[in-house]
Each structure stands twice: as C-alpha cells, then as structure tokens.
C-alpha cells in the first residue's frame, strides 16, 4: 500500500534510470507470474481435452480388455485406490492428529522441539523411499505385495503432513477458550477433546482432505508395495491396483488403446485431487476468517 502511494507521489522527481529500473523490475516479476501460470494452464487443458474424450462408463465399471480388443476399463484400479487410501486415512489420521495435539497443547520442551523438527524433515521423505522401506519391512515379512503394505507406505508420508497441519490449526484456537474450559474445572485432556478439537474441527477436516489428496496421487510407494493387477480384488492382503499406478503402466505401454484409458484415468484423478485441494482451501480460508 505504502509502496503504491509512494510510487505515484514521487515518481516525477525520479531520475530516468531509477524509474526505468523500477519499471523493469515490475515487468520482470509480472513475467514470473505469467511463466508460473503457463504449465498449470497447459497441463490441465491437455488433461481435460485428452481425458474428456476418453471418459466413458466402461472406464469405471469394466476390467481391462486384452491388448487389441478395444474398450475395457480399469475398475480394479478405482477399487484399489479406494481401499488403499481409505486404510491409509484410518492409520494416519489418529497418528497425525494426536501428534499434532501433543505439539500444539504440550509442545514447549526440547523433546517437542525435536518431534517438530523430525516432522518437518520427514515431509521431505522421497515417496519412493517410503515404498522401499515398507517393502523391506512389510512385504518381505508378509511374503507378498499387498494393498495393506501400500496403505502403510502412504501412512509414512501422510503422518508428518497431518501432524504439521493439525499443530498449525490448533494454534489458531484462541487461548481464551482453553482458559474458559479450565476455569470451569475441566481437566486439561477434556478441554482438548471437548473444546479445542471441536473448535478446530473444520480446519482438521481440511487437513485430512489435503492429506487424502496427496495419498490419491502417489505412485512410487504403491508401485513398490501393492504391485498392481488387472482384475477386481478386494482383499487388501494381496496385490492390488491403483489409479496412478495404472496410468504409469499404461503411459509406458506400446498399446495405443491403453494411452486413451491412461488419459481418462488422469482426468478423473486430477479432478478428484483438485476438487479436494480447492475445497480444503476454501474451507480453511473461512476457518481463518472466523477465528480472527
């Protein structure tokens, strides 16, 4: 604000070279803005165009046809993704939520500082490493690739995300509420469970949505743990398919009919992920507004 007023008031007195530099800077940063938008526009528009034409009911209801026989779908991938991500949510939400509660409500000591730091650097865990780790621990022990192992690999990635998000959200809850609860004689844990968490409910929900969006799109950890298959399978203790995995397989396939299915799966995946991210953003925007 200040900068704008300043620019308009004093610009007459500026030497040409200073004015030109200032203008050039403004043009340069706006160019950066444009450059950043180009890939988003290109990627979404290509996925919409190519994926839109490939969408049909078979995609969601049929198993894959053998190469050469047109049509078919990837219903097993959608079922697999649902089961794998569902289990990952089941594992990671309690872990992430309670870790976040600890950091926000009790987290002042050195130990909490260490946990916070570990959560931060775990956010940078390469997803393929999570897959390799779970392979070495779970797949080897079970003797088989499985949807369950894939869910654990996603949990490794989602736990720190949910931890950081929960902590940030709980910090937004005004201290007055905590004090009011304590003043009523409630023990601290009940204040947290009955006052703090419900107040931050919408925010926690958006954090879960963002974590699910992340889990839906992960390919590498699932590749190393769930293996993939081409028929409907609802037993999570055996190899399972997933939508991103199928896109990866089909994109690398020489069979052209599979490319179209890959685009159809991609538009579905992208729509789901973007819908979750955008809704989460709108909800959290509202939440921040309300708590202010």
């Amino acid at each position: 604000m200040i900068a704008a007023e300043h620019g308009s008031v004093v610009s007459h007195a500026l030497s040409p070279s200073r004015r030109i530099k200032d203008r050039a800077f403004t043009v340069a940063v706006w160019t950066c803005g444009l450059i950043a938008l180009v890939p988003l526009v290109l990627i979404t528009s290509y996925v919409i165009v190519k994926g839109g034409t490939a969408l049909n009911l078979d995609l969601f209801t049929r198993e894959p046809n053998p190469p050469g026989l047109p049509g078919g779908g990837i219903v097993q991938s959608f079922i697999g993704t649902g089961i794998i991500v569902g289990m990952a949510v089941l594992f990671s939400v309690p872990l992430g939520l309670l870790t976040g509660v600890y950091l926000s409500e009790y987290g002042r000591g050195r130990f909490a500082g260490l946990v916070r730091f570990v959560a931060e650097i775990l956010l940078s865990t390469p997803s393929i490493v999570a897959g390799a780790f779970i392979w070495a621990v779970v797949v080897v022990a079970m003797g088989t690739f499985s949807g369950f192992a894939a869910a654990l690999a996603l949990t490794v990635l989602m736990w720190p995300i949910l931890t950081r998000a929960t902590e940030e959200i709980l910090k937004l809850v005004p201290d007055d509420l905590r004090e009011a609860g304590l003043a009523l004689g409630l023990p601290r844990w009940r204040v947290i469970l009955r006052v703090v968490i419900p107040t931050a409910g919408a925010g926690i929900f958006t954090a879960i949505m963002l974590a699910v969006a992340r889990g839906l799109g992960e390919t590498a950890p699932i590749l190393l743990t769930a293996l993939g298959n081409e028929f409907i399978n609802t037993n999570p203790m055996t190899p399972m398919d997933a939508v991103p995995l199928r896109i990866y397989f089909y994109a690398g396939s020489p069979v052209v009919q599979f490319h179209a299915i890959a685009w159809g799966a991609a538009i579905t995946l992208l729509a789901a992920v973007l819908a979750l991210s955008i809704t989460a953003r709108i909800l959290s925007h509202r939440q921040v507004k309300r708590t202010r």
Partner: protein, 354 residues
Amino acid sequence: MTSIDQRRDERAEVPAGTRRNLRLGDTLFRGGTRLIASGLIVLLVLLVAVLAVDGFRPFQQYGLHFLTGRNWNPVRGRESFGALPFIYGTVVTSAIGIALAIPVSVGLALLLNEVARGWFSNVLAVLVDLLAAIPSVVYGLWGVFVLQPVMDRTIEPFLAATLGKVPVLGALFAPNVSGGTQGGDLFTAGVILGIMILPIVTAVAREVVMTVPRDLREAALALGSTRYEMIRMAVLPYSRSGIVGASMLGLGRALGETIAVAMVVGNGLGIHVSLFNSGSTIPSVIANEFREASSAGLHKASLLALALVLIVIALIFAALSRLLIRRSAALVSAEPAPEALETIAFRGGEGGLP
C-alpha cells in the same frame, strides 16, 4: 457436584497428589500423545536403519566404488553395481530444475508479497499452489505425450542451434549420442522438475520475504527509494539465507521425485555431457528395476542402498534448509515483527496455564 468456585479453590490450595483422578486423565492423555509423537522419531530412525541394514551388502562388496563405479549390470553372472550414472542423472536433472525454478519463484514471491495486491494476488497464489496438488504421474503423462515431443522437435533443436554453438557451455546442448534430440532426456526431466518444485520454493520464499520487518521497508521508502530499490536494499539482503534455504528444500524435493522423472528421462545407463541424452536418476532406477530385481543377488540390495543414499541426502537437505530458513527469521527477530510478538504473548499465556 461441587460449585465451580469451590473446585477452583481446591485446585489452588490442595497439593497436587490429592487431585489424583483429575490428574490421572491428564497424565494418561499427555503421556499417550507424547508416546505417539515419539513414534515419529522412531519412524525416522527405522527408515534409515532398515535401509542401512538391507542396503549394506553392496557397500560391503564394492566399498565406495558402489557410488563411483560407472557400470550397472544386473544380468546374472555379469553382475556389477556402480551407481555413478544415477547419481549423475539425479544431480543434473535437479540442478536444471532448481536453476529454472529459483528465479521464477523469487520473482513470483516478490510479485505476490510486494507488488500485486488484493484478490488478484490471492487467486494467483492459489493457482500456483494448485501446481503442487497435481499428481506426479499426471506430470509424467503430460511430459511423455505433450512436453517431450515439443522438446524433441522444437525447443531442443533450437537450443542446440543457439546455445550449442557457444564454446565450452555448448557441449551441454550438443546433439545426443544418436546425433539428434529425440527421446526422453535429462533436460526434459529437469524442466518437469522445475515446474514441480515451483510451488514449494515459492511458498517458502514468500514466507521468508514476509518476515522482513515493516520498519525496514518503511525506512527505505522514507529515504526516497523506489519499490525496486526498497526490495533490493531492505527485502533481499534479509531474505538471502532464507531463499537459499528455500532452494535447498526445492532441491531436496527434486532429488526424490520419482514417477514423472522416470517417465521422461529416457532411462539410459550412460554418462554423457550433453543434456539431450537419456539418463536415469536414483529414484527412477529404483522405480524401474525394483519389482524385477531378485532378492537373492545383489540387485535388490543395491536398489535399497540407493534408497538409503537418497533418504540420507534428502534429510540432510531438508534439515539444512529448515535451519537456514529459521536463521533468516532469527536475523530479524532482534526486533520482533508484530506476528512474532503475538506468538510470544500466546506462548507466555499458555505457559501460565496448569
């Protein structure tokens, strides 16, 4: 039930031991959440330890030659595992990605924080964030079918004809081993990485730029500087270490990116100077070979050793970047920004609670 006043009096006067049933719940809850929180540390330790144990054999057999050897051959009987081509590919693609992303990210952070205002700035920020939401495999699909053909036919020949003629530097942009620019290559992978890390680098750069105290900006403006001069004199010097931290965070992400890179990098095994040659990165070779690798020989152990190398590097970068970003914030904390003051007040208030 006792009245509120009575109970508060009790809490104030009676020694802690007698309020056992009140305390017990708190102790259990605190202890429980603390236990789960410590699980995160256990997870980190396990991640490194398990991969170190399972990936130990190649280091035992080859020593550090595992990292410097140029020959990677999993064929039984002729097995040889030297990971240099993958390390090279990882470094080169990440370097391209970061070189492309940093200038745009810093410019974008300045645009969003200092130049654009109101709803437009918000919308732009959300759109950039949405880039981070796009799944890696969708980047890869787009990369294979859209970006790569454009790169092969238009952009790379153009670069070869222009930058390729420059002495020394030109070798990077020379035609590849088959004499052209066809096929997946390190350069295309680097461009995809640049796009993918743009949102995270931008977000951290914005965070860093935001910590520069208002007083400094106002002082610069009061001295009569233009917006550009204010940013150059007040904002950038204070943000430098934070921006380095943001770059390192981006670099850490780029190093570990798997599927999109595996789809466009060409999966070659050689080391060539020209960026228009196919290559492999550490994550891409793990993704490509892991499922087929037999656990009996050294192949799988070598891939797990690569995963170990990857996580150690990624963790170091993440830790360093966090420290740099914190230092950047601490630089200005001698004179706390209003937000910092709020945080302190909040913490103090919380500290006073039972």
